[in-house]
């Protein structure tokens, strides 16, 4: 059996069906025998109905549109950059850097080491089509053009450097795409 303070402390939970079956039965037994607690229950019931029945907030017409307009103004809803744009810039930068480096090396290096480097670059060329084609597929750039096979050592070295840079750029781009 519960007393009046216990009963009145539990009235909100009684109305909100937050009591166990045993607690509920104890409340009902007390309320049946106690006029004061029944009056308190009546007040709680009115208060409960008043609070539960309070009108919900009503958004004014056009609210959604104004939220989206503000989001655009604050740069939250700006369309993301086209997928090809960033890697294309990286590609152009890589190409420029590779040509510059190859030109410098061809001007300064002894002939023998150039021949060895050219042989290595020829092997790398086999990967060039793969890398450039995958790059083109991933970015929407025009398809890879056939690379010339009768290049001099300096040009082949430059092509090899380009292949390496393209591959690295492509890998960075793919990694960045996965994380976003």
């Amino acid at each position: 059996m519960i007393d009046c303070p216990q009963c009145q402390d539990s009235l909100a939970d009684y109305l909100g069906a937050n009591l166990t079956a045993a607690e509920r039965a104890a409340m009902q037994a007390h309320l049946a025998a106690c006029p004061a607690c029944r009056l308190e229950l009546d007040l709680e019931t009115r208060l409960d109905a008043c609070l539960a029945g309070a009108p919900a907030g009503s958004p004014p017409p056009g609210f959604t549109g104004r939220v989206l307009t503000r989001a655009r103004r604050e740069g939250l809803l700006t369309a993301p950059e086209p997928r090809w744009y960033a890697p294309a810039l990286a590609f152009a930068a890589s190409l420029a850097a590779a040509l510059l480096g190859a030109y410098g090396y061809a001007s300064l290096a002894p002939r023998g080491s150039l021949d060895w480097a050219a042989a290595q670059a020829q092997r790398a060329l086999a990967w060039a089509d793969v890398a450039v084609t995958r790059m083109a597929g991933a970015t929407g750039l025009p398809g890879a053009q056939a690379l010339p096979r009768d290049l001099g050592p300096a040009e082949v070295l430059a092509a090899g450097a380009i292949v390496v840079l393209i591959t690295v750029t492509w890998a960075i781009y793919e990694t960045a795409s996965e994380t976003t």
């Binding site: 309070a54 907030g57 959604t64 939220v67």
Partner: protein, 185 residues
Amino acid sequence: MSEEQELVRRCVQRDESAWTELVERFQVMVFTVADRMVHDSAVTEDMAQEVFMRVFRNLPAFRGEARLSTWIYRIAYRVCLEELDKPRHRRTHLSLDADAAAGEVLAGQTDAVELADVDLRQETAYWLSRLPPAYRMVLTLYYLQERRYAEIAEVMELPLGTVKTYLHRARRFLKDHLVAGEPVA
């Protein structure tokens, strides 16, 4: 992937139709909290807009550990507290501790007071606005969140016992003032 997770994913990808869907799904909830917490129609829309701006800004960090509605309620609560902290809204809230003592006296008078003629809803709204913000939020969420204590505790980042105490005190406060029949200012 649940429908809610899919909506979040599309929002993060800045899919405008997903943003529209999210705003339309939660706008009533946000306006209700703003209305009941601040009681100032002049600022309600600005507050609601601010809530959604923060939602969109922070959605990429939403990990789905709480329900999306719980997370948005939490943001709405913070926006309300910031608004209530502005000078135009600052006023002395009645102390619930002092009121508890009055409640002891008033509790015995319940049967002597006739409430039938009172515009109970108007009176309740007034006294609700005099509650300290945390108590007001607990009461508001109690009815919006289908009386689930656990979710209220999650939104307000309070222990479950504190939520129950706040709710009990807030209801006691309202009952005592309604029973006392004090004039609405």
